[in-house]
């Protein structure tokens, strides 16, 4: 029986580990759940763990997980009250959020206007600058030609980072240290931007290096109040994509943490944020200053480590807030206990990080105190070329950072996956490296471990 005031049913418009993770909380709260899946995913655990599952189309995402009409249709046919989008796919499409609401369904996410304001990175930067949140020197309007980019870089100063304004996931992003490099980076970014994000708008920003990537988890309450639930350090990246995260960040002082949490709350307030969101910052290792990078207006991949140190189920809070209810904890009483690290287990070779699709012939997860595995696959499943390579998130909690890392080393050694190559050997190397274990690492650490 569902607690009164809570949404009684939800459709999860996603796949793999995150669909399964949302379904787990729905089940615990007694909320009826519906999964949607593509033809390629029929055998995945999330499909059978939902109360009901609806096939929405063939394997290519455009014909299934991105098919807005098919997903809203599935929600209507199964009579659910709400749609939870997970991350990726339709989670940051203001149009889909608005269509969901127009269909009389509850959108488990922020107001569509907040998604839109933060979705365009140029707009988001300008908005943050106006609100007094620090941003790096950069362009305030879309850059439309290589010549314009060169002129802008002269004003900003090299090195610069070139990005798609509508982008995400590191796609099309590259740094340039001079005019020739910038022209090439601009062309790459523009073609990727058009192809992946349907918008050619490009922005340039001063590139900070060495830097740490630190983000703040926020929660916008139904009352309008915005809470910050601590930070996560996401500096371990390959191709500008995160590989491992930890909380608290070993690289920021209590004073800096306080400033970043306050800036994240401000960012949420400026856009009228509701539900779970993440404000990303870069910290300049040399000066100790920080700048706004972007805001992700949905549940973040690495949210479990925040859950491990706070004891708060973020998906539960999303569902409560979406139903206009109260959160399950007292905002003043949130305290971080211990330390947590997440290792993203990807289907990729552990040296060059190239994708490795295949059929999983062996799957044995580590278990024990402080260990949480959010997995999307099990033995016998096919890992196809259609979706991202994330197989599972190995999240490890300990009383101290050293204790968490020691547990993580043992857990990595115990995680057995065969049939596809995985980056588990990379994680073993990362945990054994003096750079990572000292805590004094930055966003270039992967490049140093895999030159």
């Amino acid at each position: 029986m569902v607690e009164s005031g809570l949404i009684e049913s939800v459709l999860v418009a996603n796949r793999g580990e995150i669909a399964r993770r949302v379904l787990r909380t729905a089940r615990r709260l007694g909320i009826r759940s519906v999964a949607v899946y593509s033809e390629a995913d029929a055998d995945l655990p999330f499909v059978r763990e939902a109360d009901e599952a609806v096939l929405v189309g063939p394997a290519p995402p455009a014909q299934s997980y991105l098919d807005q009409a098919a997903i809203i249709g599935a929600a209507q046919r199964t009579g659910v009250r709400a749609i939870h989008p997970g991350y990726g796919f339709l989670s940051e499409h203001p149009e889909f959020a608005a269509r969901t609401e127009a269909a009389g369904l509850i959108w488990v996410g922020p107001p569509p206007v907040a998604i839109e304001l933060m979705g365009d990175k140029i707009n988001a930067r300008n908005l943050m600058a106006e609100a007094g949140v620090p941003v790096a020197a950069g362009t305030v309007e879309p850059v439309t030609s290589a010549d314009q980019a060169v002129a802008a870089a002269a004003a900003i100063g090299y090195p610069v980072m070139v990005k798609a304004a509508a982008g995400g996931g590191g796609i099309g992003m590259s740094a340039a240290a001079g005019d020739a490099e910038l022209r090439a980076a601009f062309e790459t970014a523009r073609s990727r931007a058009e192809r992946f994000f349907g918008s050619p708008a490009i922005l340039l920003e001063r590139y900070l290096s060495p830097a740490r990537h630190v983000e703040v988890q926020i929660l916008g309450l139904a009352s309008g109040r915005v809470l910050a639930l601590g930070e996560r350090d996401c500096s371990v990246q390959r191709r500008h994509q995160k590989v491992a995260e930890e909380t608290p960040s070993p690289g920021i002082s209590p004073a800096l943490r306080g400033q970043m949490l306050a800036a994240a709350v401000r960012a949420g307030e400026v856009v009228g944020y509701r539900g779970a969101g993440t404000v990303e910052f870069l910290v300049d290792v040399r000066t100790g200053g920080f700048v706004f990078l972007e805001m992700n207006t949905r549940l973040q991949v690495e949210h479990p480590i925040t859950e491990q140190v706070t004891g708060i189920d973020l998906v539960e809070q999303q569902l409560r807030i979406a139903g206009r209810g109260e959160v399950s904890f007292a905002g003043e009483a949130v305290e971080q206990q211990g330390h947590a690290v997440e290792l993203r287990v990807y289907a990729e070779d552990p040296s060059r990080f190239l994708p490795s699709p295949g059929t999983i012939s062996e799957w044995a997860e580590p278990a024990g105190p402080g260990i949480r595995v959010d997995a999307g696959y099990c033995v016998g499943n096919q890992v196809t070329m259609f979706y991202d390579p994330l197989l599972a998130k190995l999240c490890v909690h300990g009383a101290t950072r050293d204790a968490a890392l020691a547990r993580a080393r043992a857990a990595v050694a115990d995680f057995r996956i065969a049939g596809v190559r995985t980056n588990l050997p990379f994680h073993a190397d990362l945990l054994d490296s003096t750079e990572f274990s000292s805590g004094a690492y930055d966003t270039s650490v992967v490049g140093r471990l895999r030159p």
Binding site: L354, P357, M385
Partner: protein, 70 residues
């Protein structure tokens, strides 16, 4: 003669070269896409592309021939 083969199942996103073209060591021949990642396939030796076995939109399996360089 060098046979260039696919390292994994992937979609052929872009064909950058053409049969008869001269290529240098490190030139991009085609760009594959798998698991939301673009994977450039490079020439390992200089030579002439005598056969191009794929077209844009094709799906290649691990081990499939992509090009022959002589």
């Amino acid at each position: 003669m060098a046979e260039i083969r696919a390292e994994m199942v992937a979609n052929v996103w872009k064909v950058v070269t053409a049969e008869g073209e001269q290529v240098s060591d490190g030139d991009t021949l085609v760009i594959l896409e798998s698991m939301k990642m673009e994977i450039p396939v490079l020439a390992e030796d200089p030579g002439t592309v005598t056969k191009l076995a794929v077209a844009e939109g094709d799906v290649v399996q691990e081990g499939d021939l992509i090009a022959i360089i002589e």
